[in-house]
Symmetry: C2
Subunit: 143 residues, 2 copies
DNA sequence: CGTAGTAGTAACAGAAGTTGTTACGACTGG
DNA sequence: CCAGTCGTAACAACTTCTGTTACTACTACG
């Protein structure tokens, strides 16, 4: 059960909020969102908390509370969501320090760090090319 | 301790084998490799087992055994290593099935699957652009 | 002003994955 | 035959994630 699905959950939440907004429902409770994702409302509140800290959604507390998008779904890219949920890096470095007497052991971490950094940039570029509105449009294409 | 470092370990192992080969040592035992990575030989044997199943290294068993590269380090890309170690996907899908009554819940998985697939392709392209020989060269640049 | 409804968050259990370790059988060169 | 090495199982320790319960904080509305 340990696979990180926070990116998926967050995008699902935003797409569902975008659809509800288009239908005229400007605010949703965590229970209403949880009903679409089919999980516990606390999971949703945790995810929405990440999105709120990143400025992607607004929340109104108290009775009659709810969540709403902070900007148009066309203006929210998956890169915004990625930075909001802060997933772990794709590749981890050594857990123990390599043998620094060995020339490979001494230089491998900066060398790999550069490669991993380029990969991260490529991923960010791909994420930036897709908006929540596009994900919603694609989702609605399924009959 | 749960961050996946198998890609890093495998590339380190191959770079070290490439250097040893260049120095005239055509075969290395798991103990010798473990000395550079600074970890347990069983970890190295597990990693080398992945690389062997992918056809990247050869092994000779018995007394005087050891490991050697199956082809020149210029001909081994990080994509080959990636496919050999089979890391978990960058983004996981929902753990529970979304609510299929909701249009977003019904369509979100194929929509996200397409996006995630494009990202995977971008990562593969980056990995393919770097060889073990280049990682070794970069590592040796560190004084 | 009180109440009810909702967010925020802490605490915990369960599941899964990774590393590191020991142990032992399988294989093979000398 | 035997010594050295691989292959792999088994296990502990650790981390991370999800899901759940429970409780406090906050606020709209009667």
């Amino acid at each position: 059960m340990a696979e990180n699905s926070r990116m998926t959950i967050a995008v699902h939440v935003l797409a569902w909020m975008a659809l509800a907004q288009r239908r005229g429902q400007e605010a949703l409770t965590s229970d209403q969102v949880a009903a679409s994702v089919n999980t516990n409302p606390v999971i949703i509140r945790r995810s929405l908390g990440d999105l709120r800290r990143a400025g992607l959604v607004h929340v109104r507390r108290g009775s009659g509370a709810g969540w709403s998008l902070a900007r148009a779904p066309e203006q929210i890219t998956l890169l915004d969501v990625y930075d909001a949920v802060k997933p772990p890096p794709l590749f981890g470095m050594h857990h123990t320090e390599p043998n620094l007497e060995c020339p490979v052991g001494k230089g491998i971490r900066p060398a790999l760090g550069r490669v991993y950094g380029e990969i991260e940039q490529a991923v960010r570029l791909e994420l930036k090319a897709t908006s929540v509105a596009e994900v919603l449009r694609e989702s609605l294409r399924v009959p």
